[in-house]
Subunit: 400 residues, 2 copies
């Protein structure tokens, strides 16, 4: 059985799947390294099999996968000509079975659930995690309990509800619900694989290993990722720390966590040199998927970024909206506002920092724009109307 | 330069990119086989590179790809226990950059457009093709002209419009617009890569080759695919005909084209033994993506299915809705109603046909449910409401 460790107390604890938090300081626990010998099984097909040595699973059950991972790493083509833009690639996590990076975590956490004989899993989510958890539960034949906010839109209810979970709109404070979910989980045998679940975080490492291999077994110089609860960035960083431990790279990339200005508790703490953040009052941003005023993994993020010369930056909604449109119009990638923060962050940083000509920048695009289509303003889209007989004249004037 | 051929007149013609139809009978032309030596380049990464020998492209430009293809082939896990269900796999084309199979065709047609020096591409679409064509045009730096129906929903306008095409809502008959688009295209240098574009169809072949390799260099016994304009099914069949020509398989799978009962012009023609179909009056089905009353590739589909012992079947909207829910609830795949026809068709056929125990069935899932979320009835989704303090009691009663 795995041990979990607290990065603050530097102690390890036996796995308690129903409450993976430090009994001493309350911070989230992470999985301790277990396997001595680790290598990439590049002869395998599934991402979780190729990188299985680096995951805390005794064995991989292929019947529990939806074919997640192995996502494209694409060079910015047309955006490369923007002012001061360094050599940049996107890691497109929207091309996952439920259209977000969450599937990377769900597949590992669900494998763990099944191996432990758990019959019901759960999560708290405003969107992407709801659909991902419900879909993997469906594939595995597990029940799932999906707790969403009171004001969750009909579209988001449908996108998760289609998988047949026990879906509950919950009224009340989400920090309180986060803690409460674990109490209920323990009493009812529900494994709540929430945002900073240690196995979920291990799953996110796979994205990092893929980037390394896709670059020809090299590390990029910078990795930009949106930061909400913190789990995703923690996983991505752990991937490169693993690669360094294995002697495969010398130094880890500079990680740049990006938050929306309207909800940036970690940027505020980091820029004032604090080791712990405080709750962000009145969050307000179009990037709903990362609008977490009280991120449970926040203090780990602050610690890891400080120890590894990372950065945290905030971008405005106007910058986000502009970046979302640029990614679609120039690169053919339609992402959600939360993902667009990474391009907004790069544009911002490029004005202040001199990237070296050989620097390789990776932007992790986390979720599909199709899931946030109700946030898109139709006024931002140009369209015309014509009858068949008037079409040619109309096109003629537009194409000139 | 490629030659195009008419499968009815058995003649070939030089490529006319602005009107790829037979000058004699008016049917769509297909690409003639050009390369003598063909093999799979499994050392390559991109699907269009691996299967490049089988595509009518002089060279592949990696900068024009969005990382399409290499989609999961997954065994039905929990649905396998349904009554009389044979061994079945899904080929999940929703995991493509713009969430549908159209990307397979767009990448090849756009490569061709760029190689011919074309600056503007176009398409007529009600949904998936609009987004796919606009996205690949954006990546390639081409202008795109996207013609959509007058009553296209705001969501669909947004999902295509985000890529910055010249988007036009056109009022009038779509059969007429289809023909008109080519006239306008020729005069204005716009390559209209519509549903049965010969290069688009070549791109769909890649899905077939992938299925073959994913099954361990073997052919499945049956392939089910939704049928609308016909291009997709023609491409899938051509893939297995190629494999047979190469001596890699002995016989091609039984292809089962599935249409919605409410718009089934090809099923009607096929079941009455006709070699050509007639327009379907008053189409009405929830499967909008395949609601084409006058499919331009229809007669080729009829001919190819007849020559290769294929089938065409129709399923009702009730069967479609049930199948869509089953795929989500049991297999974790959220597809659109058009895709769900394939499971509905298999369930229908399984009641009449005795599949052999060793038969392998592949269902091609063509588009994501996220794009048709407005067609989902919230009444079909169970959800609950609770305050935090009442949550445990509520869950207790549901979980019992």
């Amino acid at each position: 059985m795995e041990k979990l460790e607290c990065v603050f107390c530097a102690k390890s604890f036996p796995l308690d799947i129903f409450f993976p938090f430090c009994p001493e300081c309350g911070e989230p626990l992470l999985v301790s390294r277990t396997k001595k010998q680790r290598s990439f099984r590049t002869d395998k097909k599934l991402a979780v099999e190729i990188f299985g040595d680096f995951l805390p699973l005794e064995r991989i059950e292929p019947g529990l996968t939806l074919g997640e991972g192995d996502t494209p790493l694409l060079e910015l083509g047309r955006l490369a000509s923007l002012d001061k833009m360094p050599f940049t690639l996107t890691k497109n996590e929207t091309v996952n079975p439920t259209s977000s990076f969450k599937d990377r975590g769900s597949v590992v956490a669900v494998q763990k659930a099944v191996s432990l004989g758990i019959k019901t899993i759960g999560t708290i989510s405003t969107g992407n995690m709801a659909g991902s958890t419900a879909a993997y539960a469906a594939k595995a034949g597990l029940k799932s309990v999906i707790l969403v906010k009171e004001d969750t839109t009909k579209e988001k209810i449908l996108a998760a509800g289609i998988y047949g979970p026990i879906l509950v709109k919950v009224k009340g404070d989400y920090g309180r619900l986060f803690r409460k979910s674990f109490e209920i989980g323990r009493r009812h045998g529900i494994y709540f694989m929430n945002s900073v679940d240690p196995f979920r975080i291990e799953g996110y490492k796979v994205t990092g290993y893929e980037i390394f291999l896709q670059l020809g077994a090299r590390s990029p110089e910078y990795v930009f990722a949106p930061v909400s609860a913190g789990g995703h960035l923690i996983g991505l960083m752990r991937a490169f720390l693993d690669l360094r431990d294995e002697g495969l790279i010398r130094k880890i990339p500079v990680f740049v966590g990006v938050q929306a200005k309207g909800c940036s508790p970690l940027v505020r703490a980091f820029s004032s040199g604090k080791t712990s953040f405080t709750r962000f009052s009145n969050p307000r941003t179009i990037a709903h998927a990362i609008s977490n005023p009280n991120p449970p993994g926040g203090n780990i993020v602050l610690k890891m970024l400080r120890e590894n010369k990372g950065m945290l930056i905030a971008v405005s909604d106007a910058e986000i909206i502009k970046a979302q449109k640029l990614l679609a119009e120039r690169e053919g990638i339609f992402c959600d506002p939360a993902s667009a923060t990474v391009l907004a962050g790069l544009c911002q940083l490029a004005q202040k920092t001199s990237f070296k000509p050989r620097d390789r920048i990776v932007l992790v695009i986390t979720g599909s724009g199709l899931k946030t289509i109700e946030d898109l303003d139709i006024a931002r889209i140009d369209y015309h109307e014509a009858a068949i007989d008037g079409l040619e004249k109309m096109l003629d004037s537009v194409l000139r």
